[in-house]
């Protein structure tokens, strides 16, 4: 029996269709306004080719089941496989964001060759399988009309180019701003931040500074708005802009990330008996639980995420606060083509449910249902680093997954002492035995191991 289709709250913007959750599957309806362009794209074979190449999420036409699915009004119904974890641009590392931008431009360029184009440029239409970008909106692919303007240009700038420039040119993480402004970072705002000496760059001068000036001017004058609708961009100009942006973005890098790889490379992950014991314990839990999805909270550069994959986890989503570590994790996932997605998370302030009706973009809680989690060398960062009482920290971690491993560094551990070095110890309750009792009240302790005299790993199970 198939589950009732529940509309996806983030899919309302394009009236051409809606997306529905139906158990294991994702369904997409195509309405009257989009059926012609969808049919063209579908019959041309372009959708199938992109899906077979892994660039577009796979699809099957299930229109014949529309009445049974409760979607009788739809002209076409597509069924898609579920992506393990939906992530948002404000959770992406620089490299993920860059990969998404390049994937968008490449798709636009490839579509143009077949006389198709993307009708928008929203970053939310790019998701990741491992760290490989995959496009999820089949209805954005529409026939290209010769000379039409690039309607998604401003959106591309706000959601891809400007955040990447902010990162590469200003060495500022754009996630905080992007999270507060779901449409992205406007050229008018970014233009004010770019110092004069950094403006002498063709991309910044045109797409940021000039666009901002023109936008500010056009807001002041209301005349001529009808004429804007008749603007024309020759195909060669469109392709030129796409190629220009592609070559600029491909060269971007973050100044403060340059040294990162070297800093982490020295820390070989199996180098100490403690690390070997941790890897063995992680593998034991994963082999027993066989999680389809595992969260690695505080994944660092992905050592234990990779161990979990080796032990049989089908996919891992890692979370960390350190962008440098995330860059290393990205590179490992990309080089190994691993089903491992490392994302940015401030556990003390995770992504909220927001957008229209506070439902358009989901919060961290409830985004997915991981079967297991790892929280290694993590709890002291919130319990001591962020003053979250130990019982609340334990509640939060245990509520994320039915089973998992939590590492508890004792107060005497150097990692904890480093956090206490600059402040008074106001944490009398931060203690291994207290933690064991708190965890025992919330779950069954399956097994515990002291990997060092000052570090204990607890394997818990809620059932």
């Amino acid at each position: 029996m198939s589950a009732a289709a529940v509309v996806e709250a983030g899919s309302f913007r394009d009236p051409g269709g809606r997306v529905f959750n139906a158990g294991e599957k994702i369904l997409r309806t195509v309405t009257d306004s989009a059926v012609d362009s969808f049919t063209s794209a579908s019959q041309s074979g372009v959708l199938r080719r992109l899906a077979d190449a892994g660039k577009l999420v796979d699809f099957a036409d299930v229109t014949d089941q529309a009445p049974a699915l409760g979607l009788a009004d739809a002209r076409v119904v597509l069924s898609h496989p579920r992506i393990p974890f939906i992530s948002y641009p404000y959770e992406w590392s620089f490299s993920l964001h860059k990969a998404a931008a390049l994937a968008h431009l490449d798709m636009q360029l490839s579509l143009l060759k077949d006389d198709f184009a993307l009708s928008d440029a929203t970053a939310y239409n790019v998701q990741f399988e491992g760290v490989k970008p995959v496009f999820i909106d089949h209805l954005s692919i529409r026939p290209y009309q010769d000379g039409e303007i690039w309607a998604g240009h401003r959106q591309f700038c706000m959601q891809f180019l400007n955040p990447l420039l902010m990162w590469a040119v200003l060495d500022l993480q754009p996630s905080h701003w992007f999270r507060g402004s779901l449409e992205g970072i406007a050229p008018e705002d970014l233009a004010k931040l770019i110092p004069l000496r950094k403006r002498l760059n063709l991309t910044i001068l045109t797409h940021v500074i000039a666009q901002a000036a023109m936008q500010r001017r056009s807001v002041k004058t209301t005349t001529g708005s009808a004429a804007y609708r008749t603007a024309r961009l020759p195909r060669s100009g469109f392709e030129g802009m796409l190629h220009g942006l592609r070559s600029t973005i491909a060269k971007l890098e973050v100044p403060s990330h340059r040294t990162v790889w070297g800093d982490y490379a020295g820390n070989t992950s199996y180098s100490t008996p403690e690390m070997q014991a941790k890897h063995a314990f992680v593998k034991e839990m994963v082999a027993a639980v066989k999680p389809a999805l595992l969260y690695d909270i505080g994944c660092n550069s992905g050592d234990y995420s990779i161990s979990a994959l080796e032990a049989g986890a089908r996919s891992v989503v890692g979370f960390d606060f350190d962008q440098g570590a995330l860059e290393v994790a990205y590179r490992r996932a990309a080089e190994g083509n691993l089903p491992f997605l490392p994302l940015w998370l401030d556990a003390a302030n995770p992504s909220p449910a927001q957008g229209w009706g506070q439902a358009e973009r989901k919060g961290f809680a409830g985004r997915a249902e991981p079967d297991a989690l790892l929280a290694l060398a993590f709890i002291h960062h919130i319990a001591i680093g962020r003053n979250v009482p130990l019982d609340m920290a334990t509640d939060w971690i245990v509520s994320q997954a039915p089973t998992g491993i939590i590492e508890f560094p004792h107060k005497s551990d150097p990692m904890v002492q480093a956090l206490l070095a600059q402040r008074d110890d106001i944490f009398p309750g931060y203690d291994k035995d207290v933690f064991a009792r708190l965890l025992g009240e919330r779950a069954r302790i399956v097994k515990q191991v002291d990997v060092l005299p000052t570090r204990t790993l607890f394997w818990y199970g809620r059932s």
Binding site: D120, Q145, E148, W150, Q211, Q215, S218, L233, S236, G244
Partner: protein, 69 residues
């Protein structure tokens, strides 16, 4: 007349030169449209020369590898 005025005027003139319909649910916004009308032609030209340069380069690099053998 300052620089920004010149840019905007040039853009508006370029934009009005030819016309084709644009269909989209997305509001492209005027700043972006003026920019596209202004730099579209330049971007197309740049791409043309870049492709040309790439072809010339590839001819020479092919000769180089040939000479080494």
């Amino acid at each position: 007349m300052n620089g920004k005025t010149v840019i905007s005027l040039a853009g508006t003139l370029a934009m009005l030169s030819v016309a084709a319909p644009a269909h989209a649910y997305l509001d492209p916004s005027t700043g972006s449209i003026i920019l596209q009308a202004t730099i579209g032609a330049i971007a197309g030209g740049t791409l043309f020369f870049r492709t040309l340069l790439h072809r010339v380069k590839s001819v020479f690099s092919r000769r180089d590898t040939g000479a080494e053998k």
